[in-house]
Symmetry: C2
Subunit: 371 residues, 2 copies
């Protein structure tokens, strides 16, 4: 195998591939990056069995072939090469990979291509196309709400629901739930649900970080999902099991509604939350009364914090307590200058949403406090 390519393109591809390598691989071969040079393309693969990625880089291939190289060293070496042109050559008689650029030459030990669990793009399954801007927004608005503890594996992922031309994403840790809806370019005849690990959604968000909207092709089966965009194909195992009926957790009627300035409320909750942070439930209390919201927290080992700001209040006065982080998380995703919080009483779930957006909603369960 022998090929030449541009350093900048190779660095970018290996960086994405590198993130699919487990920090503690189950077997040595999984610490490697698979290289396959053929025609005018270098194919790169990496996997940790849970997620896998295939990338393509334009290359001048002098001799086709395939090999596996240490992911860690290949990344570090390529990144530091002095020139923009890189030549990679595998010598089968010595089993050594030679990387050269300018006056620098590196040789790295190799692993056998046959030992690598090669990823084959999915052929069968539910197929749809989604705009990258829509997919990114679905991920941004929901994924933060996933559970981080492993007691309920389904909650460590987000639900992707397809119905007609609608796509929905839902994430919850059972104390708060985030829901967002968008459109796809296809018509899915039957309601389909998939639970995607949080980690892969973050990875896709990272890959789609450019500003230019693109089409993302998605294929899904019950156990696996594949995403294609540019020269990148990324695949993941899905989380197995039936996601709970999330609609039941979304209240539809409220007796109180308040409208608040997003940035002012976020700043105030962040400040007051400082004192709450080391307490057991990270609790801050809100008292809505007389056109103002009084925000306060109390931590016997630290002190107290309180702040007051204006609020448009419809309905009776209410005092309610929340985990400060659950409020901060959602406030950071709100797009507009103001947002709406709807409540019933201090024990029933509240709803956070945007004034002119029916697609997004966030349910947050209050913390019970002793008065």
């Amino acid at each position: 195998m022998k090929f030449s390519c541009l350093k900048s393109e190779l660095v970018q591809a290996i960086q994405i591939a590198g993130r699919s390598i487990a920090s503690k691989p189950q077997t040595p071969i999984l610490s490697g990056i698979y290289l396959h040079a053929e025609k005018d393309t270098l194919e790169i693969q990496a996997t940790d069995y849970e997620i896998g990625v295939i990338l393509h880089v334009e290359a001048e291939v002098e001799k086709s072939g395939e090999i596996v190289v240490s992911g860690r060293y290949f990344q570090e070496v390529v990144r530091t090469l002095p020139n923009e042109e890189v030549t990679v050559q595998y010598d089968s008689s010595t089993s050594i990979i030679k990387i050269s650029s300018g006056k620098s030459t590196f040789t790295l030990l190799s692993m056998k291509a046959d030992d690598f669990p090669k990823i084959r793009p999915m052929q069968e399954g539910n197929r749809f196309t989604i705009n990258s801007a829509v997919l990114k927004e679905l991920i941004r608005r929901t994924t933060f709400a996933c559970a981080t503890d492993e007691t309920r594996p389904l909650f460590m992922g987000a639900l992707l629901e397809l119905e007609g031309s609608k796509v929905r994403m839902v994430a919850t840790n059972s104390h708060r739930l985030s829901f967002d809806e968008g459109s796809i370019e296809d018509e899915i005849p039957k309601l389909s649900q998939y639970v995607i690990p949080k980690r892969i959604l973050e990875e896709i968000q990272h890959i789609l970080s450019g500003d230019v909207p693109e089409k993302v092709e998605v294929v899904c089966t019950r156990s696996e999902m594949g995403f294609s965009v540019h020269h990148i194909y990324i695949t993941t195992r899905l989380i197995e099991g039936k996601y709970p009926e999330y609609r039941r957790a979304i209240p539809s009627e409220f007796s109180k509604r308040v409208t608040l300035s997003t940035s002012d409320f976020l700043s105030a909750v962040s400040r007051v939350g400082l004192i709450a942070r080391s307490s057991e439930y990270n609790t801050i209390k809100l008292m809505f009364n007389m056109g103002e919201v009084h925000i306060y927290s109390d931590n016997p080992v630290v002190g107290k914090a309180e702040e007051t700001m204006q609020a448009v209040i419809e309905g009776e006065d209410i005092e309610i307590a929340f985990n400060a982080s659950y409020l901060i998380d959602v406030l950071k995703t709100i797009n507009g200058d103001t947002f709406i919080m709807e409540m019933n009483d201090s024990l029933k779930p509240a709803l956070v949403r945007e004034p002119d957006n029916e697609d997004f909603l966030y349910v947050i369960t209050p913390v019970r406090t002793r008065h």
Copy 2:
């Protein structure tokens, strides 16, 4: 106690004070920041018994007094306050400190000022004045060479040597030694030596990070040293013991001299060092020969790296091996486009210096390799 001051000035002062608080304080009072408001000044103190700092902030003092507040929470609270004007008030009947700014109010628990080990600026000792630019350069050029392991406590600090109007700083870990010399504004009659902990030198470097040169007043006794600059006084315990005769470690005659491009050699050594990094002694080899230096490393579990660059060589060919980090560290401090390396043979210490600078030198012991 009650005072008002500017948030930005208070934040800056508490940030510096906060770095003198140990992450795991020996006693609860050492987790605190001491505040003393009197006349038109707020005095702030923090210490971990090894280093201590006193800072002054302009304040409008309504009622004088002193108190100790949790360093961690005071820092976080003040940093997030909404307005530039901050009012701090201590209520002795409730033992509570109230911090207010705009519509935010925080109350923090307090600790007794009497329990705080107050720092008193040193009155007696060797006194001299040094330009902050000179002190910063001495620290920058030597401190990196200190030992990090605790087997030789003296080597965990840098030697400060005063003689006449000269000031010298020396640091070593016994495998490499860095030396730099500058001038002070005073005349010290008798050679004096002090070993200053690396941590305090880094702290001083941080405090002196501004570009405008200033006068730093220094007072030293056998066990303690104090630095004053702006409104900051910082004091440290010195490391006890007699620093070895460092001059014996500096060779004065060499049979070979090479002149190299600083940036090219630094890049090449960094690249080739990648392969050396996980080996036992982080060894890279240099072969000077025919107007070129050949840089290479070899790691049986990873691979090899090699690179060639031009060198002006005076004297016979030589092959010599070094710890790559020891070379990289010093190359990062070199000011000019080229530097000089002087050697005798592959077992004797080499010297790194700058072409037109007699004040700085760096001794580096080669690594023995089997050929």
